[in-house]
Subunit: 377 residues, 2 copies
Amino acid sequence: MNRIVKTHVLKVNRPFRLDSGDLLEHLDIAYETYGSLNDAKDNAILIEHALSGDAHAAFYHEGDKKPGWWDTMIGPGKGFDTDRYFIICSNVLGGCSGTTGPASINPATLKPYALRFPPITMRDMVESQRVLLSQLGIERLKCIAGGSMGGMQAMQFFCDYPSQVQSFISIASTMKHSAQQIAFNEVGRRAVMADPRWNGGNYYESVSPEAGLSVARMIGHITYLSEKMMQEKFGRIKKDKDARAIFRPSFEVEHYLDYQGISFVKRFDANSYLYITNAIDNFDLMASISSKERLRGEGRGRGRHFDELKTKRGLVISFSSDWLYPPSQAKEIVQLFTGLNVRVSYAEISTDHGHDAFLTDYVNQSDIIRSFLASFS
Amino acid sequence: MNRIVKTHVLKVNRPFRLDSGDLLEHLDIAYETYGSLNDAKDNAILIEHALSGDAHAAFYHEGDKKPGWWDTMIGPGKGFDTDRYFIICSNVLGGCSGTTGPASINPATLKPYALRFPPITMRDMVESQRVLLSQLGIERLKCIAGGSMGGMQAMQFFCDYPSQVQSFISIASTMKHSAQQIAFNEVGRRAVMADPRWNGGNYYESVSPEAGLSVARMIGHITYLSEKMMQEKFGRIKKDKDARAIFRPSFEVEHYLDYQGISFVKRFDANSYLYITNAIDNFDLMASISSKERLRGEGRGRGRHFDELKTKRGLVISFSSDWLYPPSQAKEIVQLFTGLNVRVSYAEISTDHGHDAFLTDYVNQSDIIRSFLASFS
């Protein structure tokens, strides 16, 4: 079958209001789809990507040798089976891979927004996805699923629009950041902003703050791998045995981080990094769903009917060696949704691969997800 | 009693050979002493400082309101009792608080060494301390003790010169860095070097790379606190509730890190940070003592007499919530020295204070150290 796919861009030429109250006059939403929507239009699954992901979740772009970031999980017979389901993935609002973000042109100035881009929230990302779904003629989702920040979006969508979603899958995620998790993100942001090339966010006409963004990414990668895996993979092995090599990478683990930093800055916008990590740090699911305003049913999409949740399903997956979003935080998610009367299943997958396991350990994940999706219609 | 102290500087005007083979023509060693050397000259204890420490371990400098960094542990009746022992602490080689380091004047150019400073090792730090001890007329140490990098120096000294040291105390330390520990240091170094003001190490005549060094220090501080302590201390509390505050610290944990970064760069040299963390990453006690060269008894101080270790004592202390140098690594130290027939005591102190506990949790530490030192003469 044809496993070539293209990224489409939906151009929304009407104002889009954000959580902050700001308006975006125009909105682009980059997205891809895999499989086919059935006649009943009830087999759609929305996939949410993590911090550094994009709309290209699966299959191949014409001429590419590498498939999308979750191709192991999405396809014929896979965990998200494209023979059964219509899979959609869009780049998040604030991103830099086709959806409107700080690098996009500000219609008011005809220059990139840079820091004039308004702050965004997890809820804003969800709202932009609802615009896309509406355009695709999809009223209800079979499931909304994602890992890491993708799990946050999935849960936010599920709680905000229970009538629109049958189930959620949250993988290697949390319902709010701890102080330590905020701290890691903050140091990454500070690394970006410490780079003079960042220049208050105005670098689009010159050189981008690659050195700073690369340091931020290196910090991230330490938290993505388990201590054990890092030790087994790199240990204390030195590529460069020159004792004078203080000022360049010499240990293999240093080369690994170096490579990760360099490849990231080629494809990611530094301001997007700031805006998205800020949205992550400010995400607080419980505070969000219990705010009085929401319960009173005011404002944009704010008529919550938590009673509806009783008929809904949830799946929470964590990885034993994930120290960025540890199993303890997954259990808090299970507790929250159990309290809301959602039927939640929980699986802790035993692995040494740390947080990255949501991208790499697809065999167990696929089995669990396949069974979960088959268990309700 | 008089608790005012001064930092002295020993000027060594003869060449000092380093592990790398390089020679330093001249060497300054900054040090302080507390208490008195007895007539038998057998009550001296050498205190080793950590990465960001200095010779000012205890008491007050004239006019200062804050005492030295381990004043809770060193003084009359304290863990290191100055009524009984003569305590010495010197700034490490490569440092920036009085001892020769990259910011010192290179006699060959009459400018700061910067990156012309040769790479240094834990063994070089130890050798410089032996020059100081010799000058002070001290042939034997009752004990050599330190936390974090201080523990590394203590163990290196103890293994290299067993005839000169009666015991060692290693607190919150390790005998070698894991890949993850190297990774954290490397990201810190990269943050410094990514700052254009670092300028290949040549910044002494202009502005120092404060932004980069501050990011490095922030990364360090995340690893110094336990996840639990950070959560209890800061949680998700926001000082600045302005949702637009993406580009300045808003969460309290961000303000804390910011403060730590800013206060560090005022007192620390960026190149020293690179040289010292490099020495830490390359420290490998087991490799060092088992190298054939050493066992053959060649070269500078290389006649090892491991038989001597049988009459020696060791004390290893770890902290339950220290995730930078966790108890598992302390147990490896105990295992190593037990294998060398040293009588080693081990204490794991239960605390939420993480790695920083070696500086803050002085009550339990003092009791353990006091008993340990009293148990042999």
